[in-house]
Subunit: 207 residues, 2 copies
């Protein structure tokens, strides 16, 4: 049955385009919008529109930024010889929160996924390879998701980095059991990997 | 840590105002918006804005409608002596889909909920009571949620209807086990209610 209002139908259709939101939830969101003050809804719509309309990306690391060069890239206190390659801005935030990384980032904007039609040229790989050959960089840290797509992307970038500069050090963030994790709860692949990648005790216990 | 972009921060803040959406999901939605074509995002924002800006309600039943009188209220084939009271447009759609109801509706726009500060005057109760005293109506069917708030609202409306017209028939939709339901899976309250409300066999098996 079509809805009694084309306006409502349009809004539900559009809300249902959000990832993870079906038509039933979209209807709930639309009815919630109708219960709000008009100016609140306009603020919502304007914020979403403005994001897409005025978004800028850092010309160095490709992270979302309101300035041509983001605050991390512009910070003279960061190690400029070290680049950490991540999928998107969420990973930058997660790594920054650890306070364990003092280098620069490169935001790919996704990972290689043939199933979704995403190849290397759809990502910010060209900008990355240009950075790797500018003579400043000594190490690239690949911090991509531990998935098939993430591993494919790491494999591709490692090969490209070696082609660009055979002396460049390419590393990957460690995989293993979580800090605080009980062994019985760890999946077999991760546990197996953590055994294969074991380290001397003295290296493991240092901060 | 604040985000590297105020535009992104605003969009995430606004997306996180949606019911059931936390900041983590809001960030995922915002990044999804950035991967879309600009015109797609503008269509999304405009549909949400237009809904709130131009929404109209049927002057008879208070349902969302693009016309002053909705299609159901304007349909001469519907029984005008019978009004079904529901919470919102989703319930109208659900009941219409059963094809078991040929009367008119009245959309309350919510249920009485003291916890949320929603009293009878925040709902379309005044319009309902005006309809009940126009001399056309013989029966009101209360089809509100089987919750504390729904029952409170039904109690209130039953009393108000009796005050307005003591001859008015007020009924409630039946509660009991679902069609196709196994007894062992039914909760105690519903099963108890279905036993207390048992009907003569001949009445139960008719369509």
């Amino acid at each position: 049955m079509p809805l009694s209002s084309q306006l409502l139908e349009n809004a539900v259709d559009q809300l249902a385009t959000l990832p993870g939101i079906g038509r039933r939830t979209a209807m709930r969101l639309a009815l919630d919008m109708l219960r709000r003050e008009p100016h609140e809804v306009y603020r919502f719509a304007d914020a979403v529109r403005a994001l897409r309309e005025h978004v800028q990306y850092c010309t160095v690391c490709c992270n979302i930024s309101d300035k041509p060069t983001c605050e991390i890239c512009a910070n003279p206190g960061r190690e400029r010889a070290l680049i950490c390659v991540v999928e998107d801005i969420r990973d930058v935030i997660a790594i920054e929160n650890t306070r364990q990384f003092k280098g620069l980032y490169h935001v790919l904007g996704g990972v290689i996924s043939p199933m979704d039609g995403i190849g290397p040229d759809d990502l910010n790989t060209r900008q990355l390879l240009a950075r790797l050959t500018n003579g400043e960089i000594t190490e690239v840290v690949l911090a991509l998701p531990a998935t098939l797509e993430g591993d494919t992307t790491s494999f591709y970038l490692n090969r490209k980095a070696a082609e660009a500069d055979p002396h460049l050090k390419v590393s990957m963030i460690a995989r293993g059991i979580s800090v605080g994790g009980e062994l019985e709860n760890v999946d077999e692949l991760t546990l197996g990997r953590s055994i294969a990648d074991r380290k001397p005790y003295e290296q493991s216990v240092r901060r």
